[in-house]
């Protein structure tokens, strides 16, 4: 098989090319979004009574809703629904066009249904979101360089803290389930695309439309309430809170659609012979993460809609002096919030185990146990939400049960460690760049995990809750754990996604800057927490000055490390050495198709005969899949004999 991409360059589309919807792109989305937003603003300004309490909130709500709807009409989100309703189903040419045939690079700016284009779009979006979130983190650390700093006003500081949090949460939720569960996962199971290619494109462009409202918060007063937006503080907050809620509601749509799409793809689109027990661990992780997202997102939607109702229509779900309760918010929010951190964590862990297996040249240790552990983490994570509420005074009698469920999570989490070190044990340990990040993950996540058990303990949590210790803990798990594992996955799949090899020399410089900067930043923050510095403060006692200075300097190094990594990625993407189809000699299907991957992934249909971890095995057991329709029968029969 030769590396060809005839579909993208040579295919001639039918005579219908040039219809209105084929002219849709990011530009029309932007234009229509701005237009509808402006119309919404104009109507709201002229019709809604300038009631001091609700007027500006409603205006912002209508404007932002106008933007989101306008952008999605402009980009083409609703095309398929409307065409379905009219009975004009897409024909073959339409589908080829939608998949990006014959459009070159322009297809990255369109509502493109090719899962590889969607994955790449997600990857770029994740870079952008991380850069925005990282920039905001730099603002925070600059403000906290010295005590009594007046670099930022408290209002701006709170706004930055809130949006740093939410921006990073959105980025980390989509950082693996966006790029890799879209680009890699369908190829891994031998599918030609996702189950619902149009919904796939939708899940991406809906996130894109959710970003401007998030950044708009800075221009309408800023969110004062942190990313957790605890009511009633968030109900008290200004119209920025409405922008924030619109972002979340839009994002919920995306995650729900993406989760459904991932699960249905794996359920219905597997290649011949790809039984559940032969699926790569990353596919399992994507499915579990997607399913958990489906569980978490409705609660987020409910919390945000109730909060918008409280703010913009005067209901009283969370306002105590009208009969509501802030504890209701905290419950609904954390019913979403704790599963959500595992929505972030599980897919990168799956990616990490793939990396560990490939670079140790060994099967994933205790494959089934690893799947069980990820499922167990997901299952337990829906029963632990109130550990965020130990000190709120809500139901002190439930402290024991929630301490139990929280500590139980350390058992499946421990199994994931066992699988990782079991895979390393006696492996040939090919230390390429992905593996650097793999080792860093182990170190960071063990610290994040151990500090997590302090926090699960109620008497200790009574000291640590709401303090910098918590901040350091979840940065160790989410940044040091999930994001580092995702980076390992990025370095691993970079040759397949971009067709070029990543420059490992620059990558290693970046690695050391990230590794050292990270430890300095967050170990110092653990110390701040031990000493009793609260979270989310714009200013602090001189008592905490030295460790804050150290933490800030570490954070600058950390950010510089990410920038160097970004440079390595971008420069390798443009000028890097052309990658072979299978640079790591890995066994899963994505490495056994061409690079760049052709439109429908495989020039010959794969037939899976073993799991993709046949390292060190002999004979046919080494082979994950065979291609074409003649050879595999004999091999399969050979295996059976």
């Amino acid at each position: 098989m030769t590396a060809t991409q005839p579909l993208l360059e040579d295919t001639v589309l039918g005579p219908k090319a040039g219809r209105l919807y084929r002219r849709q792109s990011f530009a029309t989305g932007l234009g229509l979004g701005i237009l509808l937003g402006a119309i919404g603003w104009f109507i709201a300004q002229n019709t809604i009574q300038s009631n001091e309490n609700f007027g500006s909130d409603m205006t912002v709500a209508v404007t932002m809703a106008g933007w989101v709807i306008g952008f999605n009409i402009g980009i083409g989100t609703f095309n398929a629904v409307i065409r379905w309703m009219l009975g004009h189903d897409q024909d073959k040419d339409d589908e080829l066009y939608a998949a990006g045939v014959g459009q070159g690079k322009a297809r990255y700016w369109k509502y493109c249904t090719d899962h590889k284009v969607v994955g790449t779009q997600y990857l770029i979006l994740v870079f952008i979101l991380f850069f925005v979130g990282g920039t905001l983190a730099m603002m925070i650390r600059t403000q906290l360089l010295t005590p009594n700093s007046t670099f930022l006003s408290p209002q701006t500081y709170n706004a930055i803290v809130s949006i740093h949090g939410m921006c990073m949460i959105i980025a980390t939720i989509i950082m693996v389930s966006g790029p890799f569960a879209n680009f890699i996962m369908p190829i891994m199971i031998g599918a030609k695309d996702m189950a619902f290619p149009r919904l796939n494109a939708m899940s991406f462009w809906v996130v894109v439309s959710a970003v401007p409202p998030l950044l708009a918060t800075f221009f309408v007063g800023g969110v004062n309430a942190g990313w957790t937006t605890y009511a009633p503080l968030s109900v008290q907050d200004g119209p920025a809170m409405i922008c924030f809620a619109i972002t979340i509601i839009t994002f919920v749509v995306s995650v729900t659609v993406a989760g459904i799409n991932t699960i249905v793809t794996v359920l219905t689109m597997r290649a011949e012979g790809m039984t559940f027990a032969r699926m790569p661990i990353f596919v399992w992780a994507s499915v579990i993460g997607g399913g958990l997202g489906l569980y978490a997102m409705p609660a987020f939607l409910l919390a945000m809609t109730m909060m918008v109702a409280d703010k913009a229509t005067g209901t009283s779900f969370f306002v105590a002096d009208q009969g509501g309760s802030g504890w209701l918010w905290e419950n609904v929010f954390w019913i979403m919030g704790h599963p959500e951190v595992y929505v972030i964590l599980i897919p990168p862990v799956g990616a990490l185990l793939e990396v560990m297996s490939t670079f140790s040249r060994k099967p994933v240790f205790a494959y089934k146990l690893a799947i069980g552990a990820m499922t167990g983490v997901a299952g337990l994570s829906i029963m632990v939400w109130a550990h965020h509420m130990f000190t709120t005074g809500w139901a002190p009698d439930l402290a024991g049960p929630f301490m139990l469920t929280t500590e139980l999570i350390s058992i499946p989490t421990g199994i994931i460690f066992l699988c990782a070190i079991g895979t390393l044990w006696r492996g040939s340990n090919w230390v390429r760049l992905p593996m650097y990040f793999g080792f860093l993950f182990l170190w960071n996540f063990i610290i994040g995990g151990v500090t997590g058990i302090y926090l699960s303990d109620v008497p200790a949590d009574n000291y640590f809750h709401g303090n910098m210790f918590v901040t350091a803990h979840f940065h160790y798990t989410l940044l040091g754990g999930a994001m580092i594992a995702a980076t390992a996955g990025l370095c691993y799949w970079f040759p397949k996604v971009t067709g070029r090899m990543l420059d490992e020399k620059i990558g290693k410089w970046a690695f050391w800057m990230i590794a050292i900067g990270f430890q300095v930043t967050y170990l110092a923050q653990f110390y701040e927490g031990f000493k009793g510095m609260p979270r989310r403060v714009a200013n602090y006692d001189p008592l905490f000055a030295p460790e804050n200075l150290i933490s800030s300097l570490g954070a600058f190094l950390l950010m510089a490390g990410w920038v160097v990594l970004l440079y390595a990625l971008v420069s390798s993407w443009r000028h890097g050495e052309i990658a072979p189809a299978n640079p790591w000699s890995a066994k899963s299907l994505e490495w056994h198709t061409e690079t760049p991957v052709p439109l429908e992934n495989f020039l010959q249909d794969p037939k899976v005969i073993n799991d993709p971890y046949g390292y060190g095995a002999s004979g046919a057991e080494q082979v994950h899949a065979v291609f074409g329709h003649h050879s595999h029968h004999t091999i399969e029969e050979g295996v059976k004999q």
């Binding site: 603002m139 408290p154 008290q236 907050d237 200004g238």
Partner: protein
């Protein structure tokens, strides 16, 4: 070498971008046209008990932030004109260890505090403030506070103002770990019950002149804000109360 230049170049570029964004965020903080209001020295005297350096600060509180004050300074130019504000600045600077006499001219109406505690005068010299009314104000609080006696006009020293007759407060907290620290709570009585627009904010409008002294402690940026619920939303602490610069700021002891 090319790689090294590329990598350091991108770090530099990122630093420039981040720095530019940082400048943007820094510019978001409200700063009054006159900047930080420096206290005027009036020599050495014994206003605060012992003989010490004495400085004066003159402030006003306005029911809206448009217009100019008696000295011609805009009250709070870059904001929401309907919101009340302290003027002419929200940042003040006093020398450490000095005796500070503040005079606040209060033009705003008012009502009930969320917490009556902030009707008490705290932290001033003698635990008192001196109030002079420009004209007749209300004689009684409404509703369940109807029994509370409120003088028709204030004229003299007060250790507390009835919690139902507050216009604003000037409440400042100590810095932990900084000694000597000082805590200050000064209730400013409401000035009349009119609903008119106070654009112009001149002395023609009813007002309360509140004078008090305190000893500035150790160096630092002491955060102050108003504890009277003059905003909107939950507990009337949204909107203006959540926005930096109108009813909050810093007292810099230098």
């Amino acid at each position: 070498m090319r790689k090294l230049i590329g990598a350091s170049g991108s770090v530099l570029l990122a630093a420039l971008v981040v720095g530019a964004i940082g400048m943007g965020f820094k510019a978001q903080a409200y700063e009054s046209p006159i900047g930080t209001l420096k206290a005027t020295p009036v020599g050495t005297d014994t206003t605060c008990g012992a003989a010490m350096h004495h400085v004066k600060l003159d402030l006003s509180t306005y029911p809206d932030s448009s217009g100019v004050d008696s000295a011609g300074h805009p009250v709070h130019p870059s904001g929401n004109p309907d919101w009340p504000a302290y003027g002419p600045s929200n940042n003040y600077s006093v020398p450490t260890g000095s005796c500070v006499t503040m005079t606040v001219t209060q033009y705003d109406s008012g009502g009930n505090l969320n917490n009556p505690y902030f009707g008490t005068v705290l932290g001033t010299v003698g635990g008192k403030i001196h109030v002079v009314s420009s004209g007749t104000n209300i004689s009684q609080c409404g509703g369940s506070d109807a029994a509370t006696e409120v003088p028709a006009t204030f004229n003299g020293d007060y250790k507390a103002i009835p919690a139902c007759a507050i216009g604003h407060t000037f409440t400042m907290r100590p810095l932990p770990g900084v000694s000597p620290g000082f805590f200050l709570n000064v209730p400013l009585p409401l000035a009349g019950n009119y609903a008119g627009d106070n654009v112009g904010n001149t002395n023609d409008f009813p007002h309360q002149t509140v004078t008090f002294s305190f000893v500035a402690g150790a160096k630092g940026a002491y955060s102050w804000n108003c504890e009277y619920p003059c905003g909107h939303g939950v507990a009337s602490f949204g909107a203006v109360m959540g926005a930096y610069g109108y009813m909050s700021g810093y007292l810099h002891v230098v």
